[in-house]
Amino acid sequence: MTSSQEATNHPEKPRIATVSLAGCFGCHMSILDIDERILALAEIVDFARSPINDYKTFDGRCTVGIIEGGCCNEENVHVLEDFRKNCDVLVSLGDCAINGGIPAMRNNIPLRECLEEAYLKSPGVYNPSGTIPNDEELPLLLNRVYPCNEVVKIDHFIPGCPPPADAIFEVLSALLAGRTPAIAYGDLKYD
């Protein structure tokens, strides 16, 4: 693990932001799997922007930013950049953030084929005009799914699909306490 800026001592409670980019939310579920410990965590940190609350943007600097999912569209990139700019320490949580994960299976397949399979070829599809979704509200897809650390600098990585809750808890605790995280053997998983 590398780290340029370790969690520094903020005068107020450290703040944690989380986001799911091209992930399945499994990593966020695994955060919740720390179960009762989340209540203790809530005593010592504040949660900033996160899908589990209604803060949709940054309203101040965060100590730790947790990223689930890789980047599959331009908006993911934009959000990730925003996280990098607003967080002292960024953590790639889970295999998708670390290496693209299952969505990266499309990386050796032309995008067109993926779209046609879903919207033109699938049985039971009613699509008389041969429409493939395209609207200004739909962010442009990237040519491949990028691991987060190919887009911005990432300070810590917690592997797993999803990472075990204990691994997440250990890394968060360590970062908040200013020590180097040490994930136990059984909690270091890539599956």
Binding site: V77, R84, L140
Partner: protein
């Protein structure tokens, strides 16, 4: 058709006794007849020699001159080595592409001509150069390239491209080539007069142990670059108990910028063969093999004739020069475009009919080499020197050169200088003296020993060419001050990536990663930490790679880092937080923009 194929394959296999160890000859033979080695041909070969198709395929796909798919009747291999690039490769390649109407790597629609590129073909002193089938064409310019294509289009006969012949033996009817020797300086070891049989006569007057003692006393060290003591190597081989031993001559001169062995083989073949014969006597071998790189195939008919003459004169064959128990003969084994085969164990693999993968060492070839027998592998120049030593004596030889590196060295000088060519110089000569001899043009850097060594800047020009200081296999490439050293390092890395055998992880994968890192820095996207990472990764590759290729491949990069560090540090800078300099959103969305017909809102 199928029958025809079977008949020809049968005929070729028969020529080599259906021996799968002669796989290189068999597949080269088949390709010579059909332009490629098809799946059907591989099946037939496998069946006839008692092998498996995938084994044949494994060999065919290893060597870049061998092809599974049909190629043009004429294959133009334009040399894209760094010196050729400096001398106008791009313009020549362009001219050829235009004249043929195809891009690099393609074959004309009529199946007549294939245009491809190839690393150093040993013609750096007359670059840009190309191989047209086996025929070498040199000193190309866009105009000459155009003419060449027009002529080829007319007759499809590469030999007709040779309208003027080069110097020395190049006018020999069996060579007839436009190549020039460019021998700029003749020394006493290689380019003095040599009368075939005399050195051998002196040798056979001694017992083998005494021959080895003479070589040891001369302190001759291997001329391929590594510099292992030749006499010691022979002694180790001789002392390893075995029913048979072998003498292998490494004429796979592939180090970019080296061409001195080509000149030795053209002008001093008898001396080289005599050196091999002497070695055979010394170690107790009856077979010698010259592993001749595919690029020098044009020399083969001539070399075969020299061998034939020697047989006729009792210098090869049974009871040589009347010696009752010394029998020795030499055959030529052709290579087919694989730099790594210059590594001695890879060369052995190739001679055995396998892919040119280096072998694990230990055991070393003198203990267990060709066909698992004790084997010595020496460079062309080493054999030539050995012959002269037996003729003139160890003290004579030892008196030449520097204190600790005896004898002379053949240098292949090329690049930015007025007098490229071959120089026989005593060891101990300084790089600056060579630059002066060659009339170098405003030299800013020199690569002594080829890309597997480090590129040196002017502050090192006073260094001396010898094993204690500037060790070299012979390449001496001069770059003037205007040359982009980083671009040069990156191109050499590309060369090693292409030529790696792929066996071990650090070389196969690490070099690709190193190349990406160098590219990042060279294109201005690097950060200072990337330079440290380049060093770290280079060190890992050098330390953990199995053979000399991987252990040397990062040297161009390291050399540039160490000797021209300002060039790199000028390119890197600390980045502000945000998107990485290597991530380009506009490129990542370009496909989508085209597909949906709207622009990204974030670019």
């Amino acid at each position: 058709m199928k029958q025809a194929l079977a008949t020809v394959v049968q005929e070729i296999c028969k020529k080599y006794d259906f021996d799968k160890q002669r796989m290189m000859d068999i597949v080269l033979g088949v390709q010579g007849r059909f332009g490629c080695i098809s799946v059907e041909a591989m099946d037939l070969i496998a069946e006839m020699v008692g092998s498996h198709r995938v084994e044949v395929e494994s060999v065919v796909t290893f060597y870049s001159f061998l092809s599974l798919k049909p190629q043009g009747k004429v294959v133009i291999r334009l040399c894209d080595d760094i010196v050729d690039w400096m001398k106008g490769y791009d313009a020549v390649a362009d001219a050829m592409s235009k004249a043929l109407g195809i891009t690099m790597g393609e074959t004309t629609s009529d199946g007549a001509i294939t245009l491809t590129k190839t690393p150093c073909i040993g013609m750096s002193d007359q670059a840009p150069a190309a191989l047209v089938n086996d025929v070498v064409v040199t000193n190309l310019s866009p105009e000459r390239a155009q003419d060449l294509i027009h002529n080829l289009r007319r007759h499809l006969d590469p030999q007709q491209l040779v309208t003027t012949v080069g110097d020395g033996n190049h006018s020999h009817p069996l060579i007839r080539s436009m190549v020039r020797n460019n021998i700029r300086r003749r020394g006493p070891v290689h380019f003095a007069d040599f009368e075939a049989g005399q050195a051998l006569k002196a040798t056979l007057a001694m017992d083998p142990e005494a021959v080895i003692a003479t070589i040891r006393a001369s302190r001759l060290r291997g001329r391929g670059g590594a510099g292992f003591a030749t006499g010691l190597k022979w002694e180790l081989c001789r002392n390893t108990p075995s029913d048979r031993r072998y003498v292998l001559c490494n004429a796979d001169e592939g180090e970019p910028g080296t061409f001195k062995d080509r000149v030795l083989l053209t002008e001093c073949a008898a001396q080289v063969f005599e050196g091999m014969t002497i070695a055979g006597y010394a170690i107790g071998a009856d077979t010698g093999i010259v592993y001749l790189r595919g690029e020098y195939a044009y020399l083969r008919p001539y070399l075969e004739q020299v061998l034939e003459e020697r047989r006729a004169n009792g210098l090869l064959g049974r009871q040589i020069q009347g010696h009752p128990s010394f029998h020795f003969d030499i055959r030529i084994q052709m290579g087919a475009g694989a730099y790594v085969c210059g590594e001695e164990t890879a060369l052995i693999s190739s001679c055995e009919g396998h892919r040119g993968d280096p072998k694990n060492r230990p055991p070393f070839p003198p203990q267990c080499g060709y066909l698992d027998r004790p084997t010595i592998v020496n460079n062309v120049e080493s054999f030539s020197a050995a012959a002269r030593i037996m003729l003139k004596g160890a003290p004579w030889f030892e008196a030449i050169g520097s204190e600790r590196t005896t004898g002379t060295k053949l240098l292949s000088v090329s690049g930015d200088c007025r007098k490229p060519g071959v120089y026989e110089v005593p060891f101990g000569i300084s790089a600056r003296e060579v630059l002066e001899l060659a009339e170098a043009d405003n030299p800013g850097a020199v690569l002594i020993g080829g890309p597997c060594r480090q590129m040196l800047g002017p502050d090192r020009f006073s260094g001396r060419i010898c094993y204690d200081d500037l060790a070299t296999g012979g390449a001496f490439i001069i770059f003037n001050r205007a040359r982009n050293k980083l671009a040069i390092a990156e191109r050499y890395l590309d060369f090693f990536i292409d030529e790696s055998c792929g066996h071990c992880t650090p070389c196969r994968v690490g070099l690709q990663l190193l190349k990406n890192l160098v590219h990042k820095v060279v294109t201005g996207a690097g950060e200072p930490s990337d330079l440290a990472e380049m060093r770290r990764l280079s060190n890992i590759i050098i330390q953990t790679s199995r053979c000399g290729l991987g252990q040397a491949a990062p040297n161009p990069v390291l050399g540039a880092l160490e000797n021209f560090s300002a060039l790199y540090t000028d390119l890197v800078s600390e980045r502000s937080p945000g998107l990485l300099s290597t991530f380009d959103l506009s490129r990542a969305v370009v496909d989508a923009e085209l597909r949906v017909g709207r622009q990204s809102k974030y670019v």
